[in-house]
Symmetry: C2
Subunit: 332 residues, 2 copies
DNA sequence: GGATTTTTTGCAACCGGTTGCAAAAAGATT
DNA sequence: AATCTTTTTGCAACCGGTTGCAAAAAATCC
């Protein structure tokens, strides 16, 4: 059994408060006392129990990290950045996987039962009500990759998907494409809807450009590939804005199978700028979503909220960026 | 402030023990009492605080999930499977990212301070001493993807890498390759060493087959590609067993750039059977590591250890399997 | 209906810590 | 040396629960 505060106090012949104070920074203890206690603690291999401590301090340093996206490779980077960011600040991520559609309400309760200090909801597909449930229970929450709204009820960090859609449209227009298409991810995702909205809005300014759209069932190679094979039955557009890089790569594979050539016959622009888009045999032109900045900002915001729980909600949006590679015809 | 046990007891006009008992299964409470308490609890939105409870029950249901691999795409699946497996059993993963080489000892202490019920070390590169440190503190631990040893000191679940190396060698021999090579991952990883050992042992049985080996610096596209470009300066072997699928894909890209053709000029066999190996434009022949079984078994073993902490250590090994695709010449 | 057994309930101590408060000790001032 | 400040320390209550034990209540038996 691990040594407790009391054991150390006995061994050192002092009160438990003295021991407690040696292990809480900012508390007042004389040097002599500190040495005595530290000696005894070292002998016993003692270190304070965080959970018992949390009972009185009301701080567990646990942060719920909730996601329902364990398939898209960018989420590995997301987890990497989150865990490091939190760890660097002495916080501990309690990971919650919401993939299998278990009742979200239950997760809210569970995280409350573990007295997490805050919750990060890293998902663009979970309904806003989910994040709000935490806020209602007075648990600090930030919704990373959440939907931007002019009157956010919870803190949101991410990108402006409408603007990203516009950006894609402009990229295609600038390269002289006249017949362009949107090949989105899951139709119900707000990010898909927003990007389509921006894409169409921007194109509407150019009456001579025609546009169309369709959706893949999920962000996967196969979904992109089969959707493109289906589209290839009819007439194809000159260029496609795809909802995701893996999707794009599936699309590229279908195009190749159809005997067509990129960017000669068809242009493709992806989204996310995943690691593999840079690979020489892929070289996908894509839109970079500044994940690092988004996550770091989310972590910062979370730590700020720990000190100021009633902080007025804000939306933090980061600009995306076109990454020029080889799947769109060159500019001008 | 959330309602406490005492609040419920007051509201229901009963003792705190009565309330506590209604919320611990297996405790004896009359139906009338239970109804009364549940009513009061519902009115107050009460649910028990797990951490306070853990103080007396000595069970937090927290499981440390430690990894230092946040780059290899298969780990996204690993996290997915682990989190689901643990959640299904009412356990909660506390994620620890050891990527940035922070003193492992510190993580041991930290997990102890959070009173985790057990620890899963999901890594093939962390030293065995790390897992042992938990065992020494009487914390149940399973090392998933750990090295097989005939006298394991901690529970290990994974594959037999030596055997996997043999399997790769046999696959190449069966297809008639006479000049074969091993292109491993990081040289220091025990998994790399073991696979090389098995590979060479098997080949040593065929004196007419020549072999050589080299290592990529990490499991990445670029590392595979640049290593292959380097090798292409000298004479190439007929077939390569690569340490990982991403590595293989980098190798394939270099081969293509060199104007060579797979499997006509060179054969490639990868490792892991990642999602992307199945993609039509890659179609990599590879060795499947049964991740699902490994993780599920790890979770099972962990739950078993929670009931029986001094369980005798065992190694659970799962057989790998060749996945035939298009990067090795056909059999026979 | 009374004695006996079983079930239900509350008391009070405990899990491993923290903290407000007042007493004790140390240091400063005259 | 006596008095006043400041710092250090211990007491005891508390954080939010659980649980062994004995008393009270209910159920069973004769």
């Amino acid at each position: 059994m691990a040594a407790t505060l009391k054991d150390v106090a006995n061994k050192a012949g002092v009160s438990t408060s003295a021991v407690s104070r040696t292990f809480t920074d900012g508390a007042s203890v004389s040097d002599k006392m500190r040495r005595k206690v530290e000696k005894a603690a070292a002998d016993l291999g003692y270190s304070p129990n965080f959970l018992a401590r949390s009972l009185t301090t009301r701080r567990t340093k646990l942060i719920g990290l909730v996601s329902n996206n364990f398939h898209n490779p960018i989420f590995l980077e997301v987890f990497d950045l989150f865990t490091r960011g939190l760890q660097d600040r002495g916080l501990r991520p309690l990971l919650v996987n919401l993939s299998n559609e278990t009742d979200p309400e239950q997760s809210v309760q569970m995280l409350r039962q573990y007295s997490v200090d805050g919750v990060v909801v890293a998902s663009s597909t979970l309904p806003p009500a989910f994040s709000k449930a935490f806020r209602d229970k007075k648990i600090p929450v930030v919704n990373t990759f959440g939907r931007y709204s002019s009157s956010p009820e919870v803190h949101v960090v991410g990108i402006d998907n409408v603007e990203a859609g516009r950006m894609a449209a402009r990229a295609l227009l600038q390269r002289g494409y006249k017949d362009v298409a949107f090949l989105g991810g899951p139709e119900t995702a707000t990010s898909t809807q927003d990007r389509l909205k921006g894409f169409q809005e921007e194109l509407a300014l150019c009456p001579d450009v025609t546009t169309r759209h369709s959706f893949a069932e999920q962000y996967s190679f196969q979904a992109g590939r089969s959707e493109m094979l289906r589209l290839a039955q009819g007439g194809l557009a000159e260029a496609y804005f795809c909802g995701d890089d893996v999707l794009s790569i599936g699309v590229l594979s279908a195009i190749k199978d159809a005997g067509l050539n990129v960017p000669g016959d068809i242009g493709i622009i992806g989204f996310n700028n995943m690691e593999m888009s840079r690979w020489e045999n892929i070289a996908l032109t894509t839109i970079h979503q500044p994940i690092k900045q988004i996550i770091n900002s989310s972590v910062e915001l979370m730590t700020a909220m720990l000190d100021e729980p009633d902080r007025y909600p804000e939306a933090r949006l980061f600009p995306c960026q076109i990454i020029e590679r080889d799947t769109l015809r060159p500019l001008g």
